[in-house]
Structure formats: C-alpha cells, structure tokens
Amino acid sequence: MLKAILYKEWIKLRWAVIVIAGLTVLSLAYSASMINYYVEFQGAFQNWMYVIGKSLLLKNIVFVKVLPLITGLVFALLQFVPEMTNKRMRLSYHLPISEKKLLLSSVGIGYIFLLAEIIFLFFGLWLVVSLTYPTEIVSKALMSSIPWFLGGSAIYFMASFIILEPSWTYRIIYGIMTYGLITKFYEANTYDQYQTLWAYILIVAVMPLTIMFAGYRFRRGSK
C-alpha cells in the first residue's frame, strides 16, 4: 500500500522535484557568480573584509534563504490541493489503510522529497562557498542556513495542514499562527545567530502531528 502511495505522491510531485532541482542549480550558480563578481570588483582581500565584517555573503546566498520556503509551499500545494478539489480525498479514505497512516505517509513522502532538495542545496552551498572562502566563513554560512531549512520544513507541514483543513475559519486561524511561527526562522541579520536551535527543531518536529486533526475533521465534514 505504501508503495502505491509513494507512486501517487511521486506522480504529483515529479515535475516540481525536477524544476526545483533545476532552480537549486541555477541559484547556486547565481551565488557563485555573484561571489566571483564581488571578488573581482572589490578585490579578494576587500571582499573578505565585507564578508567577515558586513555579512555580505548573506546577500549573495539569498536564494538559499528563499528556495526552501518556495519548495515547501509548492510541494504542499501540489500534493494536497488536488486532493481537496471536489473533496477527492474522500476516495482515498476508502483505501484499505487507516486515514492516519495515509495522511502521515503522504506528508512523510512529500517531506522526504523536500529534505532531499534541502540536502542538495546544503551541499551545493558548501561547495560554492568553500571555493572562495576559508573554513571559518564556510561554517558560518552553513550554520546560518539551518534556520532557513527549518523554515522551509515548517512551511511545508503547516501549508499541508492548512490545505487539508475543511473550514475557512480554521484556515485563517492556522494561517495567522503559521505566519507567526515562520517569521521566527528569519530573524537573523548576521551569521550564525541562532543559539537555541533545538527549540526550533522541536517545534518543526511536532508539526506533522497537526495534520491528523485536519484529516479527521475532513472525514467528519466539520465546518
């Protein structure tokens, strides 16, 4: 059964997975060329000074910040909007699998794809930054990117949850809550400022649980 769900989610996501992977390569290429441009334009030493003192690198790797966010949102939309149009989700509920398992495996499979994109982006970032900068700057850049990846994961779970929720009142409440949570992942203005990452990881880790409530309400047809 799981294999069938995997196949179904793959059909929904395959084009997005490929397009996002392409965008990842493009944005890494953009970052690499921006870094090169600044090194040429400012001179290597001056550029290092700007990168160290003025957080210039954060500007050059800006796509690493937004790409997980876009990916999370697009995956959630592609996976669950088709299910909710004309209440098609009802069909899935007739499958010989419990509704909870069904929802959790759909979200789990989607998240595995998202995680794959994030890991790809992470290693790409590592490669691009370490071409020009020493380990001190590379590790700062990688540490800075972790809250962004968590933010992308958070938006995936929360968006899936909001889409599955049948009532608009609840959707608005959840929307406000999600906005409040997501902005907390983007508060840094220089490198590696997040000190209590475990708390953020914990918050993201409980998010998949929320989806069952929406699924349950959907089945009951709650308003």
Partner: protein, 410 residues
Amino acid sequence: MLNKISRYTIILLIVVVSALYLPDFFSMLFDKKVTTPRMDYSVIINDFVYTRNHGMGQRDRMDIKGNSYEEREYFRLLPFMYYANLDKWGQLPEEIEGIEISSKIIRKNSQVIRIAPKYVNPPLVPLNIMFEAEGDYAELIIPDDVFRLGNTIEFLDPTSNSVLQEKSKKFQDAMKKIGFKFPVKLSAANQTNRKPFDEGYFIVDANNELFHLKMIKGEPAIINTGIGPDLQIRQIYVSENTRKEFYGFILSEDNQVYLITYDDYKLRHIPTASDVEGQSYVADKMTVRFYTYPVNKHIQVIGDGFNHMIVLDNDFNKKAEHTMEWTPYAKRPASIAKSYLFPFELDTYDPLQYVKVSLSTNLPQALVGIALSLIALFIFSRKRPILDYVIVLFTGVFGLIGVLLIKPEE
C-alpha cells in the same frame, strides 16, 4: 486518540505563538515610555547636571539641586563636551582647575569607551587582520592577508584561499618561543585603520595567560603581559589613543572592568559597583561608559531604571558619585498588568546579538490570570475534556485562546 494528540499539538503551537507575540503587543499598546535623563558632571559648578527630553522638542536642562538652565548656559557648564560651540562663541574658559584649556588640548586629552551588552560576546567570524605597527606611512596600511587564531596561528591569502606557510611559521615559532600555549581562548583587537597607531592583539592562551602580539616591520613582536591566569577574562577591548594611558579594557567573568595601562601592563580597576542592590554593573544587562577628560574621568553605569555616575580625578580617586533613577520597566503599570495577565513569556530577542528562545515566568501574580482563564473557560463552554482545563491551568490565557479556538471533535 491520535486525533486528540493532534488537537493538543495545534493548541500547543497556538500557545507558543501567543506567548511569543501577545506580551509584546500588550507592551506596545499600553506601555508609556518614560523619558530617561542624560546625566553629566560639570567641572564649572562641581556638580551633576542633566537634560531630559519631553518630546515635541522640549528639553529640561537642570542641575541636581534643581536649578534650570538655558541652552547656552548649559553648554558653558560642560566645556569638555561642547568645546567646539564654546570656542566659536569665544566662551571657552582659559583654564579649568589649574589646567590650561583649548579646543586642541581637550580633543587630545579626551577618550571614550563604552561596553554595551551587544559588544560582550558578539557573533563574529573568527578571522582577523594584522596591521603593520611601525609602517612607513602616516596612516595605517590595510594588509592583504587575514589570519586565524585557534589551535595555531595561520595567515591566509584571500586571492588563492590558501595558507601563507612562511609567515605563519614565523609567527608560530615566535609565539611558542615565548611560552604561548595553543589553543587560543580569546583574542581581541581594534580592527580598524581609523586610529592613530596600532597596538595589535591581546590574546589569552590555553593557560589563561594574556599575551600581546604585534607585527613590527613584518616581524612578530610578542610579550607576555603577566596578566592572568587567576583573572577570568571574558572580553578585551583595545582602544589606541595618542594619550597612551591604557591599551584598552578587560571585562572579567565577574563583571569587573580593568584598564590595561601602558605602565608595564599593570591593571587598574575601574569602580563600577554601587551600594544599591541591583545597580552594580552586570555586563549582560547594562552598559558602562568611561570618559576621560583633561581634568577628570567619568564612569556611567546605565541599566533599566538607573544611571549611576562616578567621577574620578586623574589619579583615580573618587571625587563624586550620584545615581539618577526612573521607573524601570518591571515597575511600570503596563508591565505589572502584563505579569498578572500572562503566566509566562517567550522571547527570541537577546541583548548579546543572538536569536535565543528564552522563557520567563510571571509567578505568583500570574495565578490571577490563570484563575480568570479557568473561570472563563468554565463559563463559555462547559463540556470540555479534563485535559483542556489542565492546559489552561498551566498556560493561562494562551491556553484559553487555543482551547476556545480549536474545539474538540467528538
């Protein structure tokens, strides 16, 4: 069962979001900012003076005896601060306390340092630059390599992103020769070329000993300052000045401030303590400012609700001392009301320039808010699982919002 866990997860997230935002919104709406006075010490009347803004451009200028002054009168009281204006008006005194005064003398003999929480342990990239301390030019020439200090000292060439072996070796050998023990625990410098000369780096080694490293004519010059290992150094601030009285400051783990003097690195303790409890300097919460003027030195410790000022003469003897107080945030009506309403607060703001989730509880006042929330839940919707009450019991109004918004599904 899982549906219930799921519902409580949503409620938990609502609690987290409310605890992050609602207390701040509450303060933003209801807290009336108090105007804090700006205190100073006048050598003309030998007394403390202050200004206080009232908004709409209104400003009081007073001394602590209660006399009020016009703007130009006030400027005349503080010649070391407003000497440029006074000089232009021809009102700068020729001498103060037997010391000849002119704009030039004041400029030359003044120095300001301040330690705010955001400078205590900021998130920095641990790469440094070493100036040539005795260069051939009038200004400091920015070098073309950077160096890392950690398990060793290594100079890097930005053009090729590689280690400069020869230079690194030279510095490593010089440091090891004098007894420097890697790894480095702390290093500090004033990394700007907008200073008259360069004093290089102050570095704490693995044995907690403080070393002074400079580069003179391309060669390393390292000195064991003899400071440490009993002094627990938290941060060092280097501030080069042509007065050459001190290299900079040491902030110790127990919130004491010391000057590193040019007199063979002897330390001089700066008084920052106060007799009043809670007004002695704490680096994580307060700002300390140290002003050096031709005839005296001022120390200001500024925290939430007070400004404690100590005046020293040039030999560091205490001349005068005064504290001005205002209502601290915790004692303002909005803050008190907030502590009754919200059982706890979550915050991601950290004065040390990090993003850090911190939880502060408002017990026991918060019991009022919790009791009211429980009553409200009881009145508004009676048929509730017992766990809803437990949630409200622990999270007060935040839990109430969550529980009321997300109704249980039977």
